[in-house]
């Protein structure tokens, strides 16, 4: 079997005296949909921030696609192939939907200042290709008609989709989604599920944080549960759901 796409070994992250994550190990395989669940404050988003370079880890190892990214900056990890969405949507509010997605192409394009000024053939070709790809992605996530709208004027569901399109524009190997279904109704969640399954089918590995248990159970190949910065369970969804430690974490254990 090939090496996992993302490999975290015993990673730890402290904020002052607080252990946000301790000794967490995860292996995400190529082509799977991996769920990350846990109560609020369990360290899920912290883990996302580490794998996208917003935080630097204090302990442990972080390997992605066969290389170590111990202290990499966000743009390096984006270049390496990790793209993300945010729990509270962070779009470029005053840019159009199309420009938002084209910004995602930044790391796969080259034109610099001279290219911009001279607008030579290669720059024009690159720009045309970026626009083309961005339009494709917008229709892929189902918001093609909104391409000239400012991101801030899109509906909530459209904004979530736009964030996914923007992340896909970076040609990621791993797509990290932080609560993609938050605030969505049942129908919207259902179509999100179909979209994520399709994203997996085009070869992108997906890791998602989610509170919607139904979505997690129906979508994920494997699930890990975090509680107080530790991984308390991992496995196929059915198995994890019956794990006593998980039930205790969600419903309160004996000692509380």
């Amino acid at each position: 079997m090939t090496a996992p796409l993302l490999e975290l070994s015993n990673i730890g992250k402290q904020f002052g005296g607080l252990n946000a994550l301790s000794e967490v190990s995860l292996h995400i395989r190529r082509g799977e949909i991996y769920g990350l669940i846990g109560p609020n404050g369990a360290g899920k988003t912290t883990l996302f921030n580490i794998i996208t370079g917003l935080y630097q880890l204090n302990a442990g190892e972080f390997n992605f696609n066969g290389r170590s990214y111990q202290t990499a900056k966000p743009h390096v990890l984006a270049q390496a192939g990790i793209a993300r969405t945010f729990q509270n949507i962070r779009l470029f509010a005053n840019l159009t939907a199309l420009e938002n997605v084209m910004t995602g192409r930044h790391t796969r394009t080259q034109a610099g200042v001279f290219g911009a000024l001279l607008r030579n053939r290669s720059t024009r070709d690159e720009e045309r290709a970026s626009t083309e790809r961005a339009r494709e992605l917008l229709s892929y996530v189902g918001i093609a008609s909104a391409h000239q709208m400012l991101a801030k004027n899109l509906s909530y569901g459209e904004q979530r989709r736009l964030e996914i399109a923007r992340a896909l524009a970076t040609d990621p190997l791993l797509l990290a989604l932080d609560e993609p279904a938050a605030g969505m109704n049942a129908t919207e969640t259902e179509s999100l599920k179909a979209l994520l399954q399709d994203i997996r089918s085009i070869g992108v590995t997906v890791v998602l944080i989610e509170h919607d248990v139904k979505l997690i159970m129906g979508l994920c190949d494997r699930v890990a549960v975090l509680d107080y910065g530790r991984k308390i369970a991992e496995g196929v969804p059915e198995q994890v759901r019956r794990d006593p430690a998980v039930i205790a974490a969600y419903l309160g254990g004996e000692d509380e």
Binding site: T52, K73, L95, T103, R108
Partner: protein, 366 residues
Amino acid sequence: MKKYKFSKQNMLFGLLLIAVLLLPFVTDALLGRGWVRIMDFAMLYIMLALGLNIVVGYAGLLDLGYIAFFAVGAYCYALAGSPHLAMAFPMLFPEGLHLSFWLVVPLAALLAGGFGVLLGAPTLRLRGDYLAIVTLGFGEIIRIFMNNLNAPVNLTNGPQGISRIDPISVAGVSLNATQEVFGITLPSVHLYFYLFLGFAALVVFVSHRLEKSRIGRAWMAIREDEIAAASMGINTRNLKLLAFAMGAMFGGVSGTLFAGFQGFVSPESFSLMESIMVLCMVVLGGMGNIYGVILGGLLLALLPEVLRHSVVPLQQAVFGKTLIDPESLRMLLFGTALIMVMLYRPAGLWPSRVRRRELASDETAS
């Protein structure tokens, strides 16, 4: 449909061009030569505002010390194009340096760009108010240096400033004298107007190309959300430094023009008030929109002069004496205008986007 609109646009552009080319003559005939000089300064301010627009409008980095780059450019040409260096280094330059203006422009652009990076590097982690304070300090540092670098070696001649700067010449023709071109008599101020117009057009061109490019989009992404931008693979450090450098280069080039035009520079031309003035032009006109910024620059450069020429006669006519001196009234009106704009048009007089979105909805409709 589209073709027709395009040609109409071209026609409008042509008319505008003719109007601008005739402007010095019309102004001269109607208002007098002093006003042509004022238009020249307005052109310089427009260039400065467009330069600052890159930093503030595109990349969203609040810079309150922008005039420092203008100062760097101005002193660059003042030193390289006047007899002053003979005073500082009599052995090296017995006659002063007297470099050609056209050689100094790229040098000044590079030097100012370097200063831009110098300012940018330590402020990369700062945002908003904190960045504003540091840039403000930087602006003052440059001015104070200019003010005090007359000892131990007299480099800047201190508060007295540097005078007798060579006038700018184009292809061997000095712009400081009246010239005949194709039978048309062009006084010096007209000549400078056309020179500045050319430079301003270049600045507009560069701004426009940058805005609609990969780099411009990355700047705007940083402005909108730095963390999201970084997560999308944008190297925020390099792009912020690039924004500072590009903005500073425009400032530096405008500075050389200013020095050549005035023939004299002194530190008092580069006070904090000037930085704030240029920032006001950008904000008032419409951050991030080239046309808005041009409008802002034009309005704020001309307004004080209009007031100067209208306030005193008006008061004389109404009250029979001058109650408020125009200088203080100017600040009062400025303040009021800014508050009004912030209240009623928070995105500026001519905000970006609006027009483009109109065009876009036209396109989808047709």
